[in-house]
């Protein structure tokens, strides 16, 4: 087992990883940028080391800076968290070349699953259904038009690299397609340094369902159920829950089984997530794999009792899984609300500034993963995630009832947040029925959605 881990991330996930290191008796060094000196993980770490300026490219995204920090602080492993270098196979290879361990899949595995199109082919060959789409990366505009014609409009333009909705556009006609290609290429190039695009059939009114898997280096894998992430705004997840209300328990179980069988056969290792679109007929199509810990992993932790960061560390250290599918028991219903510093009324504009008051909610079945504290200054350089409120209940209605109570308990002043959005969601009939689809919010308009909600009571 490792003696000392470098945490190469920030915000709530740096704190999340640190907590597991503490529990496992592993030393934790936090790598931080100049903008993150006062962050909670830096305060709690055994040691903290400044790796660069605020600009992520020169700090959290700089492979030499992160690796050098791990070496000079005597770490034997690096946990990349999510985003930044977490799925970078070249970085994983560099880490190994310096005789350190990358906590995640090996460089070979990351490379194998690096291309979304390549992964779709690979997992389709192991039995997963995929969305009809272009067979290869688009060569040029003419190729794109021909492929779109073959697939049938509307189509979704997607970048081969990255995620999070950047470089993605849905188009309904050849004219829209031609206009969007240029924009998507430049967005993809700016965000991921790779402007290759492909097309997918756009499925109307879909659900986003993903399957959590854990696979050791010896080909033993389990799934830990699914999560429904259909509450999205422009492909950004806002709320995640498990189990998915989109499918029957039998259909969910079948999807999870197919997913874990396919990734084990394809040689995946470590913790990962397979994302599917589920259409109105309940048919699931594999879209992509995330070779890292996900933001929404606590949803599954609440149901399973597993610690996914600990599982990542154990598997990276070469330990066998040590349990089988029958040992994975999922209980009740869990929902996560992403609390972001953004102004829902003004197109989700990101906010930065000082947290003046902060009080986290509590009680049975409530978990708040957040790096906030009063007087903490939210820097403007990174994502707007302030924390994740996760609630558990024996069933969905009781989980939602608990969520209503604790959302009104949260005190977070000094910044505009999306808390009112979540309060509105919990009073929305479509959500309560479990019938939310991925494009519902964009269709209604988020501002209109929030203004329809009852105001929360003032909390002392």
């Amino acid at each position: 087992m490792f003696e000392r881990i470098l945490i190469a991330n920030r915000g709530e996930i740096a704190l999340r990883i640190l907590r597991t290191c503490r529990r496992m008796g592993i030393g934790a060094v936090v790598a931080y940028s100049e903008a993150d000196r006062d962050t909670r993980a830096v305060q709690l770490a055994d040691e903290a080391i400044c790796v660069g300026p605020a600009e992520a490219k020169r700090s959290y995204l700089s492979a030499p800076a992160i690796l050098s920090a791990a070496i000079v602080t005597g770490c034997d492993a690096i946990h990349p968290g999510y985003g930044f270098l977490s799925e970078d196979d070249t970085f994983a290879e560099m880490v190994r070349a310096h005789s350190l361990t990358f906590i995640g899949p090996s460089a070979e595995v990351l490379e194998r699953f690096a291309s979304k199109a390549g992964t779709r082919h690979l997992l389709a060959s192991h039995g997963l259904p995929t969305v009809p789409g272009s067979a290869e990366m688009l060569r040029d505009d003419a190729d794109a038009l021909a492929e779109a014609e073959r697939i049938g409009y509307p189509v979704l333009i997607k970048p081969s690299a990255g995620g999070g909705g950047r470089g993605m556009r849905m188009v309904r006609s050849p004219r829209e397609l031609e206009q969007a290609l240029t924009v998507c290429r430049s967005e993809a190039r700016a965000a991921f340094g790779d402007d290759s695009l492909y097309l997918e059939k756009w499925l109307e009114e879909t659900r986003h369902v993903e399957v959590q898997v854990i696979v050791d280096r010896y080909g033993h894998g389990v799934h830990v159920g699914e999560r429904d992430c259909s509450v999205q705004r422009r492909h950004q997840k806002l709320v995640e829950e498990s189990p998915s209300p989109a499918l029957s328990p039998e259909a969910n179980a079948e999807l999870c089984r197919a997913a874990v069988d396919a990734v084990v056969a394809a040689g995946y290792e470590n913790v990962g997530t397979l994302e599917f679109l589920v259409d109105q007929a309940g048919k699931a199509y594999f879209i992509e794999i995330n070779c890292r810990i996900q933001v929404e992993h606590p949803v599954t932790e609440m149901r399973s009792g597993l610690d996914f960061v600990a599982e990542q560390i154990r598997i990276a250290a070469g330990e066998p899984l040590g349990y089988s599918q029958a040992d994975v028991v999922l209980r009740g219903h869990a929902v996560e609300f992403r609390i972001n510093a953004e102004d829902v009324a003004h197109d989700f504009r990101p906010q930065a500034g000082e947290v003046q008051r902060y009080l986290a909610p509590g009680g049975p079945g409530v978990r708040m993963d957040s790096h906030l504290y009063p007087a903490y200054e939210v820097p403007p350089f990174y994502d707007s995630l302030l924390g994740k409120l996760v609630v558990w209940g024996p069933d969905r209605p009781s989980a939602l009832a608990r969520a209503r109570g604790v959302l009104d308990e949260v005190v977070l002043e000094g910044l505009i947040t999306n808390l009112d959005f979540h309060r509105a969601l919990l009073r929305n009939e479509t959500f309560i029925e479990g019938a939310f689809t991925t494009n519902l919010l964009d269709r209604i308009g988020s501002a209109a959605f929030v203004s329809s909600a009852p105001r929360p009571q003032a909390v002392g």
Partner: protein, 194 residues
Amino acid sequence: MADRPVRRPPAPATDPSGDAAAVGRLADELLPALIARLEASTLGELEIRRNGWHVRLRRATLEAGQPEARGRRGVGRPHVAADQVAATGRSAALAAVGPGLPGKGADRRPAALSPAVGYFSPLASLTAGTAVRSGDVLGHVDVLGVRQDVVAPADGVVGRYLAETGQAVEYGQELVRLEAGRDPSVATIPAEAG
């Protein structure tokens, strides 16, 4: 973790047209990996060809007159991080670093800052009292075998060293204090030997 067999680095996602991103990726990611590979071997030279790229790394031979710090790094091995961590005592070396900006009462005199995370080596030709000009190189920080310059932020006279030779330093750390210079035009730093 035990060493595992070395694998060829994955091909960078580039084409031979040589766009800036590809060059940046080569410099930032591939080169440090290759340097590490060379260090871990007993080879004197390593060459890689891919997609029209052609990179050759040659091990530097230590010669008399090079800064003492280079010599400390072990015979025939330009830079092996793990050895050095043990040699410098990593925790002690970083104990003074810690998080947080210098306190409010901190010294207001200018200091040359570390450009990166790595191991510090001052310029051998530099001693306290040497007059320097803004932009002069005062030393280096070794990042995975690649040296980055420590630069004087202002004209002045070299004062106290705030980090020792071979010490692990973090980004932005104060390394060399500068005192007010009487006449910075009279002296310059001799060029570094080697």
